[in-house]
């Protein structure tokens, strides 16, 4: 069964009359068409992709029939089913008030779960994205300003493919800010570099910390590395997803840095840089062969250290990233 058939089967098994899919990554995953403007996939036994005018002049290849529409109003009005699947984490209250009042809405979380397990073709694209990422990381110059370095990285990623997000270059006290925006200040140590390429819609995401200019920085680096390795070991088929976060935090706690870790221990990487599963203490379910996740512990106190690698889940975890740590 292909993705589309599996998705439709899921709807039927869960008693949903139909589903409305609007997230571009989900539409691409099911149809092969990546919308740039607002699109809507009406998923049922005879799925139809509604494309708005702004995308109508593109070359359109889609695994399902498509129609170019002015807006979605008439098509939504015509839906008779009471039970409808939607992306609840994306659907806005405005959209609901305008189009879906009175319907019973169920979440399409299963689509994110489907996407979490990558097939061979997807792993190939992600591997290419990792290659480009490591090439650009290898060429990074840590002289000049944070902004210059970040821009150089981005140009490298874009020339080879595309950048999955704006690279982070955060030096000195700025490294204590996980999502720091590069400044015009000269790079100081330690410096966190967080980058990722995008190749044929698939992302990579990795982080290294350079210029460990004090003993404390070196010591913390060792701790983060230890935490990361403990986390990575847990990313095995059949193991609880939350085990990664637990292992990471155990190591950080041992050295007294638990409160200085400000985010989750990692996340799925695929069509989105951050996608299912989220590796935190509330994660439910088990790892499955073919999941691709990043594992990224960090310590943020006065300055920061973070290390992020990508792992393919199997019987054993397999590192997709190979840049020396």
């Amino acid at each position: 069964m292909n993705r589309l058939e599996r998705a439709i089967q899921h709807l039927h098994e869960n008693d949903m009359g139909c589903a409305l899919v609007s997230k571009p990554e989900n539409i691409y995953y099911l149809t092969g068409f990546f919308p740039h403007a607002s699109s809507l996939l009406i998923l049922d036994s005879e799925p139809v992709l509604l494309i708005t005018k702004m995308d109508s002049t593109r070359d359109i290849t889609s695994a399902v029939d498509y129609e170019v529409v002015k807006d979605f109003k008439d098509r939504l009005k015509a839906i008779k089913e009471k039970k409808i699947g939607v992306e609840k984490g994306r659907l806005t209250l405005s959209f609901w008030e305008k189009h879906l009042r009175g319907k019973e809405l169920l979440d399409l979380g299963f689509l994110e779960e489907m996407r979490a397990v990558k097939d061979r073709g997807e792993i190939k694209e992600i591997t290419k994205a990792v290659e480009v990422t490591e090439e650009c990381l290898g060429g990074v110059s840590l002289r000049g300003t944070e902004k210059d370095a970040a821009l150089t990285i981005e140009v490298c990623l874009r020339k080879a493919a595309d950048s999955a997000f704006e690279p982070i270059v955060a030096g000195g006290k700025n490294s204590a800010v996980p999502h720091h925006r590069p400044t015009d200040g000269e790079i100081a140590g330690p410096v966190i570099v967080d980058l990722g390429a995008r190749v044929n819609h698939y992302c990579a995401d990795m982080t290294r910390t350079f210029l460990l200019d004090t003993e404390e920085a070196v010591e913390r680096y060792r701790i983060v590395l230890e935490a990361q390795e403990a986390g990575i070991r847990q990313a095995r088929d059949g193991n609880e997803i939350r085990a990664v976060d637990r292992a990471v935090r155990e190591v950080l706690a041992e050295y007294g840095y638990l409160d200085d870790f400000l985010h989750s221990s990692g996340h799925g990487v695929g069509l989105e840089v951050h996608e299912a599963p989220t590796l935190n203490s509330e994660a439910e379910g088990s790892f499955k062969k073919g999941m691709v996740v990043s594992v990224e512990p960090g310590i943020y106190r006065d300055f920061g250290i973070r290390m992020e690698d990508m792992v393919l889940v199997g019987k054993r975890p397999k590192l997709l990233t190979s840049f020396k740590r």
Copy 2:
């Protein structure tokens, strides 16, 4: 009265017990703090800004008191008021189900309306963004691939300030796609270049079409220019907002190109590249002195022509962009 006081007054006048503001641009507008991670401003007589851990290690300057929180759960649970203002176009169904069931929710559209009218400081920032934009547009080279040209523009914008969005370079048949993503193909004529700088959070947005290599392209260019000028003339204090779109479409219709215009005639530009007001046929209300809008008619048939300039609304429309058309 400052922005914050005006916003609170609006709540009181509309019987809202409080408001929840989550859009980063709205939070910045009211508090001076631009969140990078998820934040929530609880707006009432004693507003408080809730900042999550990921932003907690940044230098925080805010016009209102702030607290660093793990999540918003407890603070949202404590809200006793029944009538609450929210950003309905942004609030997701998940968030509503988790935190706001049973409340009467009113839309905070008035915040977007407030932001639509710029004060002197904002116009200064926008003017700077326009300057950077025009400098980079002036330096653009239309040799090589679309991707190279777009990247060169982006580097120029980033070096001077920041890029408000990924520049579009769309040549030949690609120019028929309004939101085309630059390819590895060599640039062909006619080529649409759409770019904008961001300076201190404020955006610019402008478009030019170059390499008019056929008579038909030159002819269409004249029509688009005529439509744009007709539209711009309507952007006057007190005039109906929809008058711009009407004027633009009248000219395009006259030459038989009405169906080849695939988007609205323009939009507000400020903290967001696209913000209120939207210049389409459904626009309500009147222009006010201090609004900043782009006017951007286009014709997309086989190939595309688009022209976009930014206008400051006053007794007369004042062009902020000056790049030759």
